[in-house]
């Protein structure tokens, strides 16, 4: 069943269009920056973008920062929201279950397909932006961010005063960031998957998950909500930047992984409980 789900996702033109668009946006940004040599001042605009002018090999990180806040969650929410609700509205859910595909099996297959999609999307962005970065900005070894100037409130005070990073170092750190972002997206995916078992409308499930993210973003930015902010899904989203500090700051990264794990477990559990006991009337 997992194979079938992967095949279905791969045969769907929409999946590839979404990934292509995700890859395209950082390329457009890179071309503008390369042509004008006007990068946002440190601390403003997408994280690390100002550092890119000095070395193209940091561009994958900047590219991930560009797509992370909006575009990546949208595409993940669309795919995850479509998982069960899409089958229900196309009328295929009843035929799959009568095949029979066990309900738990179907959900697991959908989840695996979702994870694969997230990984392909994030890696595709990283690879295309690496190539773009090297072509447009050269591959001088970059400097890491200094740990002294960090702020964890989401706005990064960039500084290039740190020690230099070797290419292997950059690769490892980028891989870490890719993994972190992929896991962060699974939290969104789990929420959308849960909503997808509640409704027969794929659009409703995707928008519901995005609404949850926007609400979380608003609350994270709100000082008076500071007491709950450590438990919000988007709170540690930007902590992957800590992979590019010298030394790497693991505190927020660990917390980010942990909070996403909690969201994934809770919402997948809810999705399973709801779907396994639900009357399929679509």
């Amino acid at each position: 069943m997992i194979r079938v789900e992967l095949l279905k996702l791969a045969r769907r033109p929409r999946s590839w269009v979404a990934i292509a668009l995700l890859c395209l946006l950082p390329i457009v940004v890179a071309i503008f920056v390369a042509v004008t040599h006007v990068a946002p001042p440190p601390g403003q605009g997408p994280a690390l973008l100002s550092a890119v002018l000095s070395s193209g090999s940091l561009f994958p990180a900047a590219a991930l920062a560009i797509v992370l806040p909006v575009f990546l969650p949208i595409s993940v929410a669309v795919v995850a929201g479509d998982a069960i609700a899409g089958e229900a509205s196309s009328g295929m859910l009843r035929y799959l279950l009568a095949r029979p595909v066990g309900r738990t099996r179907l959900l697991v297959a959908k989840l695996v397909a979702l994870i694969a999609y997230v990984l392909v999307a994030v890696v595709a962005v990283a690879v295309t932006s690496y190539v773009t970065g090297i072509l447009l900005f050269g591959d001088k070894p970059p400097a890491a961010l200094s740990s002294g100037s960090l702020s964890t409130s989401g706005v990064i005070a960039n500084s290039l005063s740190g020690t230099g990073m070797t290419p292997a170092d950059v690769l490892l750190r980028t891989a870490g960031a890719v993994a972190f972002i992929a896991v962060s997206m699974l939290g969104v995916g789990a929420i959308a998957l849960f909503l997808s078992t509640l409704t027969d409308s794929a659009l409703g499930a995707a928008l519901g998950a995005l609404a949850a993210l926007i609400a979380s973003g608003v609350l994270v930015a709100l000082n008076s909500a500071a007491s709950i902010s450590p438990y919000l899904p988007t709170r540690y989203w930007l902590s992957w930047i800590d992979f590019f500090r010298q030394p790497i700051l693991w505190r927020d990264i660990d917390r980010g992984f942990a909070i996403q794990a909690v969201y994934v477990v809770v919402f997948l559990g809810a999705a399973w409980a709801n779907f396994a006991s639900k009357d399929v009337t679509s």
């Binding site: 295929m92 035929y95 279950l97 009568a98």
Partner: protein, 335 residues
């Protein structure tokens, strides 16, 4: 094959299925009839483990459902309400995906292409090109849905309106396919509100109305002679006078006579010099039977005044049913 006892389903406040005891035996061609919204589809979905019953028990092929439904589903082919497919893929690709989903089939993965080709051939889509299902006509979709149901040579076929959207030739083709499958040992459970379809195909019927099973019997028994004789004569007035109190109904040149002996009635009329254009035992049509045990469907929301206006209409239908069986058949197949 299918046994349900006290099967009940409640959706919130609505009692959709109420104490249904179905009995479908091996080799039956069972017609499951009822007005729209009477609970047919809910019953079908419960048989397939899609909807969980509120009360009662289901046994399909001797296996309790929904508890062990996954053990029995591989031997069931189903067409549930409308056929569905992934619109952006071809019919063949759809069947490949459906075949790959679920437990490993008997022929293994290598037999997939062959199985799919066979199923397409059976339903008359053997030569179909690679166009996407999105561009299929309704009839082609219906055939594709049937092909999906036939993929694994099931022992039980559960079909909901399988000839929906087909033209008369297509309907006949599918009907003979079903008869052929049935002869080869497949039990057929056909849920429909098209009486003619059921009348021409099924050997046994169950009628459900407002969630209750109101009738279940062999079609032949139900449609047996009613013990009355149907007479058509240009001299109907004189004939009625001659037969006296035995005439229970007269409508222009048609008479219904309460007498089981057709030959005797005929002889009596001819002896008296009356012309007889048609005479034979009266049989109840399926339409007649079903309408007599069911109310109007749940898609009808007439106001009380409109309802009384509708009543003579249904009366007329019942009266219309007093035709000879051959007559009703001819009327049915023209649909």
């Amino acid at each position: 094959m299918i046994v349900t006892t006290g099967l009940t389903k409640r959706f919130g406040q609505v009692l959709a299925v109420d104490q249904v005891d179905l009995q479908v035996s091996e080799g039956d061609r069972y017609g499951f009839l009822g007005p729209n919204g009477s609970g047919k589809t809910t019953v079908v979905r419960m048989l397939l483990g899609l909807v969980y019953p509120t009360g009662g028990a289901i046994e399909v092929l001797g296996v309790p459902v929904p508890r062990q439904v996954s053990a029995v589903l591989p031997r069931i082919g189903a067409l549930i309400e409308a056929p569905s497919a992934y619109g952006h893929l071809s019919g063949r690709a759809n069947l490949m995906l459906i075949d790959a989903a679920g437990p490993r089939p008997r022929g293994g993965r290598s037999g997939r292409r062959r199985r799919v080709a066979e199923a397409l051939e059976r339903v008359g889509l053997g030569g179909v090109d690679d166009r996407a299902v999105r561009k299929y006509s309704l009839g082609m979709r219906q055939r594709l849905g049937l092909a999906a149901a036939l993929l694994r040579s099931p022992r039980l076929l559960v079909l909901d309106e399988p000839t929906n959207g087909l033209d008369p030739q297509g309907i006949r083709e599918i009907r003979s396919l079903l008869v052929e499958l049935n002869a080869a040992g497949t039990t057929i459970f056909l849920s429909s509100h098209q009486l003619s379809e059921v009348e021409q195909l099924c050997t046994r019927i169950g009628v459900v109305d407002r969630g209750r099973l109101v009738l279940q019997d062999d079609l032949a028994a139900l449609r047996g002679p009613t013990g009355r004789v149907l007479v058509r004569s240009p001299d109907a007035g004189q004939a009625a006078a001659l037969l006296g109190g035995r005439v229970v109904y007269r409508d222009d040149d048609r008479l219904i006579v309460a007498d089981a002996d057709v030959a005797q009635v005929n002889a009596q009329l001819v002896d008296a010099g009356m012309r007889v254009t048609e005479i034979g035992p009266e049989r109840r049509s399926l339409e007649d039977l079903v309408l007599s045990v069911t109310g109007s469907g749940s898609d009808r929301f007439g106001r009380p005044a409109a309802r009384s206006a509708g009543a003579p209409g249904s009366q007329a239908l019942v009266a219309d049913g007093h035709r000879a069986a051959s007559d009703a058949d001819a009327g049915g197949s023209s649909q």
